[in-house]
């Protein structure tokens, strides 16, 4: 039993650690749907990676980063509202990914990529998660102040001489990295849930941005442990199990009778 669960557990904790702080930025900047769109485009990355026989993690990162850059530029135009545009791109990139996958001769286990797979976590995946995770956390630590500054107000940040466009782009790249490392575990459809739900739960327990980021990581880890247990015990799909546990924690934290921190 432990041989099956251990790699997934180690991987899952790694993913939860990085998803928490990045998820906080999704929540603070009201970018949940943006994260979803990036995640959906990850499937296109997988399809293209398989088609051209490139490393899948690399393919996902490249496609997500390109998508993020494209989104930033597209969202600056004023013709179509941002959420409509994100809706169009999220679903069309997901659909395009599904079509490319279906055209390939060797049929993939799609549900593993859509919802995550407990048994699919191998040593190379763990390596990718921890190397990617270390890069993400280091970058977050270095960029924390400017990232917070553009989150408070991009206009004020610009007056203060912070390179707003570059910082915003760095945040997009970091999100693309998180999606790439988390994809195997929870699947592209549910990655944003693993980022947003622990962050939203953490809000009620935190009075500084740093607390909220750290507690989001911690809450994510608890959800991973509970989700894995559920998935192993009842043979439920891993991604959905983690997300459901995360939501249960959210409900419990918000229904406990104590004064929310503000």
């Amino acid at each position: 039993m432990i041989e099956i669960i251990l790699p997934a557990l180690i991987g899952g904790l790694g993913v939860a650690l990085v998803a928490g702080p990045l998820g906080c930025f999704l929540v603070w900047r009201r970018m949940a749907y943006f994260g979803d769109t990036l995640a959906h485009s990850a499937l296109l990355g997988i399809a293209l990676g398989i088609a051209f026989s490139v490393n899948l993690n690399l393919a996902v990162v490249v496609v997500c980063v390109l998508m993020a850059v494209g989104l930033v530029f597209l969202l600056q135009q004023r013709q179509i509202a941002g959420d409509t545009l994100l809706g169009i791109l999220a679903h069309s990139s997901l659909s395009l990914g599904l079509i490319v996958v279906s055209l390939m001769k060797s049929r993939l286990d799609l549900s593993a990529f859509l919802f995550g797979d407990l048994l699919a976590i191998g040593n190379s995946d763990l390596q990718a998660i921890y190397i990617g995770g270390a890069i993400i956390l280091t970058a977050l630590k270095l960029l924390w102040q400017p990232l917070l500054a553009i989150t408070v107000s991009e206009e004020l940040a610009q007056v203060d001489g912070i390179p707003v466009a570059a910082t915003r782009m760095a945040l997009m790249v970091l999100m693309a990295l998180v999606i790439a490392v988390a994809m195997k575990l929870v699947g592209v459809l549910l990655i944003t849930a693993l980022m947003i739900i622990p962050a939203a739960t953490s809000r009620r327990l935190s009075s500084t941005p740093e607390q909220m980021a750290v507690k989001a990581s911690f809450l994510g880890c608890i959800a991973v442990i509970l989700g894995l247990t559920l998935s192993y015990s009842f043979d439920t799909p891993l991604g959905p199990s983690i997300v459901v546990c995360s939501t249960l924690i959210f409900i419990i934290v918000y229904s406990l009778p104590f004064k929310s921190l503000i």
Binding site: A157, R203, P209
Partner: protein
């Protein structure tokens, strides 16, 4: 920045911090500013007034360097430090921030002593540990003002700094702003709707409606036909409702009679009925 050379009215030209010459700006296909000249000097309060859509905020953003002029030139004194108080700042409630932390988020790292000093300068030191989401409109503006002062600005730019502040709070804030000019000698560029303040405490008024309709000393401007065309009616109602309080409120709400305070009399206008 503490002013180095005390400039008096007799001196020819205190040093020029910002100069816009023949600036025109289009946003999309709409001409927002055209052929605009503006100079900002040390120790000077310049107030921009004008109807909605006149381009006041665009002018502010141009001075700040947030918008580049399509035509004309923008000169900015090198190494000038600018403090900015935006028109409104929406902070998402999901971001847990207290005032101290809020003030420490910016390009530079400030010592907590500097933060406390800036807050006490705007009489908001008691808010240091408060959540930013629980401040009243006036308190939030004081915190924003403190944030701008932290950079020891040579130029303070305020875009409608009293929005969402009640009447007494407004006159307190305006007094604070002119105190800041007196104490630090910084230049102030402000967008304001409060004609009473504009007329009482401003060195120069710019009446803007895509171009500069008229500008100059408040008394000159208020007699200008271009000004009267836009603000004529408001001026009359001001005269009707100008009233005087024999007391003022401290930040904690205590009533202080005017004789007890060294601060200027609390003489302000309002649209409410006088309750003297």
């Amino acid at each position: 920045m503490i002013k180095q050379n005390t400039s008096t009215a007799n001196e020819a030209q205190p040093s020029c911090l910002i100069e816009l010459s023949k600036v025109s700006i289009k946003l999309g296909s709409k001409q927002v500013l055209s052929n605009l000249d503006l100079q900002l000097h040390q120790d000077e309060i310049v107030t921009v007034i004008g109807p909605n859509g006149a381009g006041k905020s665009t002018l502010v953003k141009t001075v700040l360097g947030l918008i580049k002029p399509d035509e004309g030139t923008l000169f900015r004194h090198p190494a000038i430090s600018i403090g900015y108080v935006p028109q409104k700042l929406h902070l998402d409630k999901t971001l847990p921030l207290n005032v101290q932390r809020f003030l420490s988020i910016s390009g530079q790292s400030f010592k907590s002593g500097d933060i406390k000093a800036a807050l006490s300068h705007t009489r908001a030191e008691h808010l240091l540990a408060s959540s930013i989401h629980e401040l009243s409109g006036g308190e939030f503006q004081r915190v924003l003002l403190a944030r701008a002062l932290l950079k020891k600005p040579d130029l303070l730019v305020l875009d409608e700094p009293v929005q969402g502040v009640d009447m007494n709070g407004q006159s307190d804030l305006y007094r604070l702003i002119s105190d800041i000019r007196d104490q630090t000698g910084c230049a102030i560029l402000m967008v304001s709707h409060d004609l009473h303040f504009v007329m009482a405490s401003t060195d120069k008024v710019i009446c803007l409606n895509q171009h500069i309709c008229c500008s100059g000393h408040p008394e000159t401007v208020s007699a200008d036909p271009a000004y009267l065309e836009i603000f004529g009616n408001a001026q009359e109602s001001l005269a009707l409702y100008t009233h005087h309080h024999d007391h003022r409120h401290t930040d904690s709400g205590h009533i202080v009679s005017d004789s007890e305070t060294s601060i200027l009399e609390n003489n302000h206008s309002s649209n409410e009925r006088s309750h003297d």
